[in-house]
Amino acid sequence: MAEIPKEEFLLPTTSACAGCSSSLCLRYILKASGPDTVLVIPACCTSVIQGMYPKTAFQVPVYNIAFAAAASCASGMSAAFRALGRKTKVIVYAGDGGTVDIGLQALSGAFERETDFLYICYDNEAYGNTGMQRSGATPVGARTTTTPGGKTHPKKDIELIVEAHRPPYLATACSAYPTDLFQKVKKALAIPGASFIHILAPCPTGWKFPPGKTIEVGKLAVKTGMWVLYEREYGRLAISAPSKGAMTRPLPLTDYLSTQGRFAGITPEQVQELEGEIARRREHLLREVE
């Protein structure tokens, strides 16, 4: 297990909301990656967190690109660096909207071409930067400004979609477990080719919980099995330590749902649907691990 370096690549006092998962994750991701890194970011909360011209909150170059194009831009950039003989790490850092919705075509293309890069999706389950409208990653029952009655369609399974491209490394993480994230980023960057990390990023502003509870909400997501921490190296599954308990003795889902105002109107049927989905996924993963 690699030691976490002390050097910071994200300056303090960014314009992130109080309790933001993303800025916490970025610190650990950049510690894992080091100074020879370029962040490619489409429109997302990070576009604002980086700060306004003429300042930047980052100690690595940040390349801003159009919403739909992060993975394709990164694809070209990575090819160019390799052609120059440089080992610069190209990391796409995109929200869920920019990944599972508008960014999906570019993502698929980049993975199909085995682009040498790391694609990180930090998932706050809505379009955060524009005021919390629904995305394809919004779960059933969640209220957003465009699903005022709670979302009826299920959360798109981006892990399954990316896995279909047979990447050498795919993992999930959560802002509540930053050292786990750090280790996974280190591992991903050591493997050539296209890697994917999907981070659950609880968002106090959008999910409607007090800013001091971000870590607690993230831990409940994992302990209820709503979010499973795992890795796949060349497809081979390994459940991460913090998720092991939830595989056999998960906490009741309502422990997680009740912390967030966005689930205030969720119906019993929707809760059952989510519980069923959690149980199915758990069985599936357990069977695979055996």
Binding site: N64, I102, T130, Q133, T145, T146, T147
Partner: protein
């Protein structure tokens, strides 16, 4: 309902009145309130119709095209990057002769990212065959959106209409708004070429050089006919609702010796500048151009002209200034101001008039001129 409401709300309320069957849209600052209100109206049962929260703007317009082709009234809204992302489909909607109505909340284009008011987004789409109108108040946003459906769906037009409103300055500013029920103002949509499985046809198939140009001519013919349709619809609106607009809004132009021409909220801000200049003995007037496509033939004879462009066409000039020069004798003092939400007050506009030099170009905030 008579209240204070944002420009975005004005649009959303009008869309509710127009009762589209399908709305497909994707959120982007500063349009989001339109989309959120529509989602709330539909979820709350106060608005009929299906709201499709699509995964991108390109898909938003593509979905509207599909719905419109089926003969159903459609609406979408976007801004800036979203409009640019739709560009291919803007051409498609016009070429397919579909009466889609879209609200575009004018916002600057990236890079660098900028969320504030700027007309480059819509003006860069001026060749796509869409009608374009620019509004300056929440009331006008409501009224014009209602009229847009009737104009677009008119049998002599059958072209999509883009209603433009300035980002934040109008979209988010609350102003008095009176929403009157549309009643029968917008007749039901009858799309002559709606998909009909009992009369199967190919839509937009490969078309050779011997025929293609005829379709483009038909589009232009309808664009020209639209001038008269716009006049008739605005007259009918006035008869029913008592509010009148026109191809442009003129303020103290009768005896004006220098005309300030602009679009959107700056066109209204210019009226305050006119009052100030008149107080100094400068006989100024303001002309707020509303309908940009089809472009009007303005008569500016005998007047000096100061044009404010909240946009730019690189290597060429301000789009409004150059459009005027191309269509009517004038030598405008072309001012480029308000890009990316650059603050422009009535005091600044009065300054442009005082410093005017016919035929020159002035970038507000930049020392070098042309």
């Amino acid at each position: 309902m008579h209240t204070i409401a944002t420009g975005n709300r004005g649009v959303a309320e009008a869309v509710r009145e127009a009762k589209p069957g399908v709305i497909a849209a994707y959120p982007i600052t500063p349009q989001t309130e339109i989309v959120e209100l529509i989602a709330q109206f539909v979820a709350g049962g106060t608005m009929a119709g299906t709201y499709i929260p699509v995964e991108s703007e390109h898909s938003a317009l593509a979905a509207c095209i599909g719905a419109s082709a089926a003969g159903v009234r459609t609406f979408t809204a976007t801004s800036s990057q979203g409009l640019l992302y739709m560009h291919e489909m803007l051409h498609w909607a016009a070429g397919a002769r579909l009466p889609v109505v879209m609200a575009n909340v004018n916002r600057a284009v990236a890079p660098p990212w900028n969320v504030w008011a700027d007309h480059t987004d819509s003006l860069s789409q001026r060749d796509t065959g869409w009608l374009q109108v620019y509004v300056a108040t929440a009331q006008e946003a409501y009224d014009t959106t209602l009229m847009a459906f009737r104009i677009a769906e008119h049998e002599e037009v059958l072209l999509p209409v883009m209603v433009n409103l300035d980002g934040f300055v109008l979209s988010h500013t609350m102003q008095p708004l009176e929403t009157t029920p549309a009643g029968d103002f917008i007749p039901p949509l009858h799309l002559p070429h709606a998909i009909d499985t009992s009369q199967p046809a190919g839509y937009g198939p490969l078309t050779g050089p011997e025929y293609y140009y005829t379709f483009r001519w038909e589009m232009e013919r309808s664009m020209r006919d639209a001038r008269q349709v716009i006049r008739e619809v605005e007259e009918a609106f006035y008869q029913k609702f008592g509010r009148r607009y026109g191809p442009s809004e003129e303020y103290r132009m009768e005896d004006a010796e220098v005309a300030i021409v602009a679009m959107g909220t700056l066109g209204r801000e210019a009226q305050v500048a006119v009052d100030r200049l008149r107080g100094e003995g400068i006989p100024a007037g303001a002309l707020r151009l509303r309908w940009f496509r089809p472009f009007p033939r303005l008569d500016l004879a005998g007047r000096e002209v100061v044009v404010i462009d909240r946009d730019y066409s690189f290597g060429f000039g301000g789009v409004l200034a150059r459009s005027l020069q191309a269509t009517t004798p004038c030598e405008p003092y072309s001012v480029i101001a308000g890009l990316g939400g650059q603050e422009v007050t009535y005091a600044d506009i009065a300054g442009f008039v005082r410093q005017r030099r016919p035929g020159d170009e002035y970038w507000f905030g930049v020392d070098a001129g042309v």
